[in-house]
């Protein structure tokens, strides 16, 4: 009789990882599966990293409810998980009278959603707070409860805390189908074999529609990938006066381009919002970069293309699900449900922005749904909510750095010269409870290769470290799993016979 899990969670983005982490509190056998070689490589690795205050979503929608509920969870959660969090506040700025109108709508919506201390300030006050802002600004919405986080670190830390508390994680494991008995889910079929369970939780991000369709749920629900492109500016060359988040007034197309500080110190500009044909199309485009650059320049006229050090794109899982409250007439809501036509499915879908922010609240909703479905959840007596952070060399004082090297000499070798990432940090991630096994996983966890030289210096060194630590050949080391090897073969070998002949002569 194969092992039967209580819950199998499909997809280890921020949503699946936090669902795993909050469920790990209870006496449940949980399996978290992820199709990629490492966790958190989907939308959770490529977004604006903003913890939205909650003035944007339609009042009463799942988006609004979970967003606002999560705002108060993040300070505690980031403490427990040992990850960065900064409540720096955010601004939405208006240039025209019509845009001021929109600010007023946002203010009213924010107040209805219960967002604290939200107010409209004058253009003069905005310019005083951020002298770099476009001089044409006439007013701004100021939202002190807006914050920035680190979605990738949050995903890793949440999953790691789940694993510490007994959750099993399998990467490189893709869901293919449900095993059903009538309308009861009894397991999942993956490319790594079948696994039995009482509950399956759909947290597959962009692919959540395809997953639920396999169970016959919501055949009309479709996710259309909507791409957002970004550029990152060199922190040594450009900084905002204060680290904060500044939005252009939203239009029909999206929340509006943002110029925003990040926890890593760089300023990020983006995103735009364009539907694309494929769930894998994370290309950046000339037109898209032009579009975000124009938006960024409208906000901060002094940003310069010369300061761009990186570009990337992420895909929003934009769905077409109506809000549970039909009176809202809103058709782009989060799905958070146990559907009534199948048993054993906790169904999440359409988790686009503000999905990073809302994720911990979504996880609590999942618990509530299970309890309402009659699960008698028993807390584990030894559940540990704390996942201690690992040292980040560049953030330490000289004395702390010296002490760290004295304790572990691997922290005395810099591997990434721009972001000052040490061999010690890299080895710590490779040997972490959830091992980083690819270059991109190391990059997102340690921030190596994200600076001015974009890996030019560290790639050969990291390939060597990964090969040794994973007992692989350098040709087997990959950028992000799959067929993404860095190296093809050795250079031409020296002919051994020739060398022997030389020796004879």
């Amino acid at each position: 009789m194969p092992k039967k899990y209580d819950v199998i969670i499909i997809g280890a983005g921020i949503v699946g990882s936090l669902v795993a982490r909050f469920l790990s509190k209870y006496q449940l056998d949980i399996l978290l599966i992820e199709k990629e070689a490492n966790i958190g490589m989907g939308a959770s690795s490529a977004n604006s990293a903003i913890l939205h205050a909650g003035y944007d979503p339609i009042p009463g929608s799942n988006k609004a409810l979970t967003n606002v509920m999560a705002v108060e969870m993040w300070p505690v959660l980031s403490q427990e998980l040992g990850i960065g969090y900064s409540r720096c506040g955010d601004y939405v700025v208006a240039v025209t009278a019509e845009e001021v109108q929109v600010l007023e709508e946002l203010l009213a919506r924010g107040q209805r959603n219960g967002v604290a201390e939200i107010e409209i300030i004058s253009g003069t006050e905005m310019r005083r707070r951020e002298p770099l802002i476009c001089p044409d600004i006439v007013a701004a919405l100021w939202v002190p409860s807006g914050a920035i986080g680190d979605p990738f670190a949050a995903t890793v830390a949440a999953a790691e805390n789940a694993v510490m508390n007994g959750v099993e994680l399998m990467c490189g494991t893709a869901f293919e189908d449900f095993l059903m008995e009538g309308n009861q889910i009894i397991g999942v079929r993956t490319n790594q074999g079948d696994f039995h369970c009482r509950w399956a939780s759909n947290a597959a991000g962009l692919y959540a529609d395809e997953v639920m369709h396999k169970a016959g749920v919501r055949p009309e629900f479709i996710i259309r990938p909507r791409r957002g492109e970004y550029v990152i500016l060199d922190q040594a060359e450009f900084q905002l006066t204060q680290t904060t988040v500044i939005f252009l007034t939203p239009t029909d197309k999206g929340k509006g381009i943002t110029v925003s500080g990040t926890l890593h110190g760089n300023v990020i500009v983006g995103p735009n919002a364009n539907f694309v044909d494929s769930k894998e199309n994370k290309d950046t485009t000339t037109e898209g970069l032009q579009e975000i650059w124009e938006g960024g320049n409208t906000l901060i006229p002094t940003i310069s293309r010369k300061h761009i050090i990186a570009q990337f794109a992420g895909l929003r899982a934009t769905g077409n699900a109506p809000s549970p409250d039909p009176a809202l007439n809103y058709n782009q809501d989060f799905i958070i449900e146990i559907p009534n036509n199948v048993s054993g499915l906790v169904n999440l879908g359409g988790i686009e922005s503000p999905g990073f922010t809302a994720a911990p609240a979504i996880a609590l909703k999942v618990i509530e749904l299970l309890q309402n479905a009659g699960e008698n959840l028993q807390e584990k007596p030894d559940w540990n909510p704390v996942r201690a952070p690992r040292p980040v060399f560049r953030n330490l004082s000289r004395e702390e750095q010296a002490a760290l090297i004295a304790k572990n000499p691997a922290y005395g070798r810099i591997i990434c010269r721009c972001e000052m990432v040490t061999e010690g940090e890299i080895l710590a991630e490779i040997h972490a409870p959830i091992p980083a096994t690819t270059y991109d996983a190391l990059k997102r966890r340690t921030w190596l290769g994200t600076g001015r030289c974009q890996g030019g210096f560290d790639i050969p060194r990291v390939v060597a470290i990964l090969a040794e630590a994973l007992a692989k050949t350098p040709e087997e080391v990959t950028k992000k799993g799959g067929q993404s090897e860095f190296l093809y073969r050795s250079t031409k070998a020296v002919d051994q016979d020739y060398l022997n002949m030389e020796a004879l002569i």
């Binding site: 761009i308 570009q311 005395g412 070798r413 990959t478 950028k479 860095f486 031409k492």
Partner: protein
């Protein structure tokens, strides 16, 4: 280990090694070279092709052989060296903070510093190259390190963007290793590297160079599968109907080098926005007293010989500063870029200096002139202080010229000197 030095050199490329030797030869007692790599020699160690030493030794050496000459000299002179050691910070008061696995966190004091950190390569992001983000996009120098130092091939089928020297040298190297270089694309209407490299690395191996053509998009999920090339007009705008998808597994970028000055900035060294390197005088001292700079950290050289020469000058200056704890302020006049010149290094000249020795200037032209040219150094009245004839002027090749001691009298009357390159 010691914590107090006369001269500390940061970086052990040809610039740093020459500076250390010169410092010793000019009386500095305690000289230290700090290098973050595990060996001395800098970028030369991965330049296993020949073409080094033509100007200085009249010999055609591979990079490591050229470096070895100076490594031996450094050892012979009793210069201390610290390898696998990264300098993290320097202060204007010349305290150096560095880390090393074995020695831990180091805090060193020195009377003079020579910055010789070399340069880094421009990346995909800096040229805003759109498309997907697969494995298989490398800067040419990273690929060179993989092939020549680590012994691995980063691909089999290459497109190279940019006709810089490293890119062309890698085109030949990869071909010798059995790979196929499909194309070298250059966005400019002219070559950006040395003509000699075009002949020896591309022409001789039948590798196609297409000018005014660039990469428009990178294609591929896990690994590069193709790139889309496009022709551009003078304003770099794509020309409709010229797109071509070129299947390949690797894209190498040889799109420019940028002096590596993060440390310099921390010490308050001012940088020239044109060269991206420090403003220096004819002794290669920066605006911060006692902090000198030499080699690619000042501006990107194309010939190693001039890097070595600059290292000697900087090392000598550093030794004098360490001895006297200052430099005679002297009377400096500015050296400025004139007709068709993008920049001149050094940025200013001590008028008295010519009494001791010649001063070499390095310049880059703005636009190519494909006929005989004359480079002139003129004073405020247009009087020629130094001149040199050439067969052509190309932006990809540095122009160099020395102001000789014979010009001493003329220079004393000058309030500023301007460098020009014109048709003869």
């Amino acid at each position: 280990m010691k914590r107090d030095y006369d001269v500390v050199v940061i970086g052990s490329g040809p610039g740093g090694l020459a500076a250390a030797i010169a410092a010793k030869e000019n009386g500095a007692e305690h000289v230290l070279v700090i290098e973050r790599d595990v060996e001395l020699g800098g970028i030369l160690l991965q330049c296993i092709h020949n073409g080094f030493g033509l100007e200085l030794f009249n010999e055609d050496l591979p990079g490591p052989a050229y470096a070895q000459h100076f490594i031996d000299d450094v050892r012979g002179h009793g210069v201390e060296t610290l390898m696998d050691t990264m300098v993290l910070d320097i202060t204007p008061e010349r305290t150096i903070y560095a880390i090393n696995k074995g020695l831990g966190y180091l805090e060193l004091r020195t009377r003079a510093i020579v910055l010789a950190m070399g340069c880094r390569e421009r990346t995909r992001a800096q040229i805003l190259l759109p498309g997907s983000r697969p494995a298989g996009v490398y800067t040419a120098g990273t690929a060179q390190r993989f092939v020549n130092v680590e012994g691995f091939m980063p691909g089999e089928k290459f497109v190279i963007l940019g006709s810089g020297d490293i890119g062309m040298i890698m085109a030949r190297r990869l071909t010798i290793e059995g790979a196929k270089v499909e194309r070298v694309l250059e966005i400019m209407p002219y070559l950006t590297g040395l003509t000699r490299n075009y002949v020896q690395c591309l022409l001789d191996y039948g590798i196609i160079l297409e000018k005014q053509r660039t990469v428009n998009r990178i294609i591929g999920k896990d690994r590069v599968e193709a790139i889309e090339a496009v022709s551009v007009d003078e304003a770099w705008q794509p020309i409709p109907g010229t797109r071509e998808v070129i299947p390949c597994d690797t894209l190498l970028l040889s799109v420019g080098l940028i002096p590596e000055n993060e440390l310099s900035k921390q010490a308050g060294v001012l940088l020239d926005p044109v060269t991206n390197g420090p403003f220096v005088d004819d002794r290669f001292m920066t605006n911060v007293p006692g902090i000198f700079a030499a080699g690619n950290v000042v501006h990107v050289y194309d010939l190693v010989d001039w890097v070595t020469e600059a290292g000697y000058v900087a090392g000598k200056g550093a030794a004098a500063f360490a001895r006297d704890k200052h430099v005679e302020p002297g009377e400096h006049i500015p050296l400025t870029a004139g007709e068709n010149i993008r920049y001149v290094v050094p940025h200013k000249l001590d008028k008295a200096r010519l009494a001791e020795e010649q001063v070499r200037l390095q310049m880059r032209a703005i636009a190519p002139i494909e006929e005989r040219v004359l480079v002139t150094v003129e004073d405020q009245n247009g009087e020629v202080v130094a001149k040199k004839a050439g067969a052509y002027a190309r932006p990809g090749e540095i122009l160099t010229l020395a102001i000789r001691p014979q010009a001493y009298e003329l220079v004393q009357k000058a309030t500023g000197l301007t460098v020009n390159v014109r048709r003869r």
